[in-house]
């Protein structure tokens, strides 16, 4: 039932296949759109200048260290812990954001309530606020004498200078990604589909779970992936609230900075390369999941 009435998201993602060349045609097969060569050339050179060449230089530097050097850096408990905290924290924050971001996007699109416009405009604040300011504000809020930190400390929950604080900062900076990617999809969702579901006897819960939610999944995965990627690489807003205790709340990007401070460029590049590979693997996995959800949504 659901596949038949999937609206825009699935339809938009399907790209038109190039027409098959006819057997009598002696020229090489060409797509209907002109300018393939120049646009591919432009794309590749642009991508090379901005992304591929810097990354290649990074990996070249790492390769220069040799397996022993790489293992010496990566095998240290401090590095492993920092990588674990960055990726584990980012995954946790992305998961929290995916749940609350969906609820928030739904509320903003579907319901009316007082001060909605002001709250709606506030969503983008984590983008606009300098990350250091965000970090100081969160630290002031969650430190043991802070407005939220004091009551939480009485409950025995310590937030500032613990991994929990790192996750809080990651949630803060990742939220807009999920909300802003979901909103347009929810706005474009045609009410007819819900009405059809209702006339076919679906309860409201069934309509939401089997008609509305599947159309949201690709956008939700995109938003979650963006929130995750931002959280993994985030530095400014985390280092204040994290307190940066070795093997407790030290994140990998900070460890890279520390290695650079020590003029240990090799060590810094090894951690950076490990982060890149891990991020790429996770983002690739999310992309595969997204493609799968589009086919089976």
């Amino acid at each position: 039932m659901t596949t038949a009435i999937l609206p825009s998201a699935a339809a938009m993602s399907a790209t038109a296949p190039a027409p098959a060349p006819s057997a009598s045609d002696t020229r090489p097969p060409r797509g209907v759109l002109p300018g393939f060569g120049i646009s591919l050339g432009f794309t590749l050179s642009y991508l090379s200048l901005l992304v591929l060449i810097p990354l290649a230089a990074l990996f070249l530097r790492v390769a220069g260290l040799g397996p022993a050097g790489i293992w010496h850096e990566l095998g240290s408990p401090r590095v492993l812990h920092a990588l674990g905290l960055s990726f584990g924290g980012a995954l946790a924050a992305a998961a929290i954001n995916s749940v609350f971001g969906t609820l928030i996007a739904w509320t903003f699109v579907r319901y009316e309530f007082p001060l909605k416009k002001i709250f709606h405009a506030m969503i983008d604040l984590p983008f606009a606020l300098p990350t250091a300011v965000a970090g100081i504000a969160l630290t002031a809020l969650y430190s043991e004498h802070g407005w939220l930190g004091a009551p939480l400390a009485q409950l025995g929950i310590k937030v500032a200078y613990t991994p929990l604080g790192v996750i809080i900062a990651m949630v803060f900076i990742g939220l807009p990604f999920v909300v802003r990617t979901l909103e347009p999809v929810l706005e474009e969702f045609e009410p007819q589909f819900e009405e059809v579901a209702a006339t076919l006897g679906a309860s409201r819960r069934q309509t939401i779970a089997r008609v509305i939610f599947p159309t949201l999944v690709p956008a939700l995965l995109t938003g979650t992936a963006l929130a995750f990627a931002r959280a993994v690489g985030e530095y400014g807003s985390i280092i204040f609230i994290a307190g940066n205790l070795q093997n407790i709340s030290e994140i990998a990007p900070l460890l890279i900075m520390i290695r650079l401070d020590e003029f240990n460029y090799g060590g810094a590049t090894v951690i950076a390369a490990a982060m890149l590979i891990l991020s790429f693997a996770i983002l690739f996995g999310i992309n595969v999941l997204q493609a799968w959800s589009r086919r089976h949504g």
């Binding site: 609350f100 609820l103 928030i104 739904w106 509320t107 903003f108 579907r110 319901y111 309530f113 709250f119 506030m122 969503i123 604040l125 984590p126 606020l129 300011v133 965000a134 100081i136 504000a137 969160l138 630290t139 002031a140 809020l141 430190s143 043991e144 802070g146 407005w147 939220l148 500032a160 200078y161 809080i168 949630v171 803060f172 939220l175 009410p191 819900e194 009405e195 579901a197 209702a198 006339t199 409201r204 309509t207 204040f240 307190g243 940066n244 401070d261």
Partner: protein, 99 residues
């Protein structure tokens, strides 16, 4: 008895208000409070301090480390240490300030 029909497109009032409450609560804790605390901290020592800090870079820098100091001494020391270590010019300014 006429039965009241509910639109197929709307959610029960209870669910609606619950979602609105969750939204406002989450945004309040994660976005509004950090924003409010920035302003509270900025004006904590009065408008005069704020204007002096906003007008002069040296004071602005010192006040920002004061702010971190109020959050926690350890974190502030870490930040100051880090800053001094990284930039030679900063060390000079810091010494002038302490002199």
């Amino acid at each position: 008895m006429a039965r009241r029909y509910r639109s197929a497109l709307s959610d029960p009032a209870a669910a609606r208000w619950l979602l609105i409450a969750v939204t406002l609560g989450f945004l309040g804790v994660f976005l509004l409070l950090p924003l409010v605390i920035v302003f509270v901290q900025a004006f904590l020592q009065g408008v005069g301090t704020y204007w002096r800090a906003a007008g002069r870079r040296r004071h602005a820098r010192r006040d920002s480390s004061d702010l971190a100091d109020r959050c926690d001494r350890g974190a502030a020391q870490y930040v100051v240490r880090r800053r001094r270590g990284m930039d030679g010019r900063e060390v000079r300014i810091s010494r002038q300030e302490s002199a």
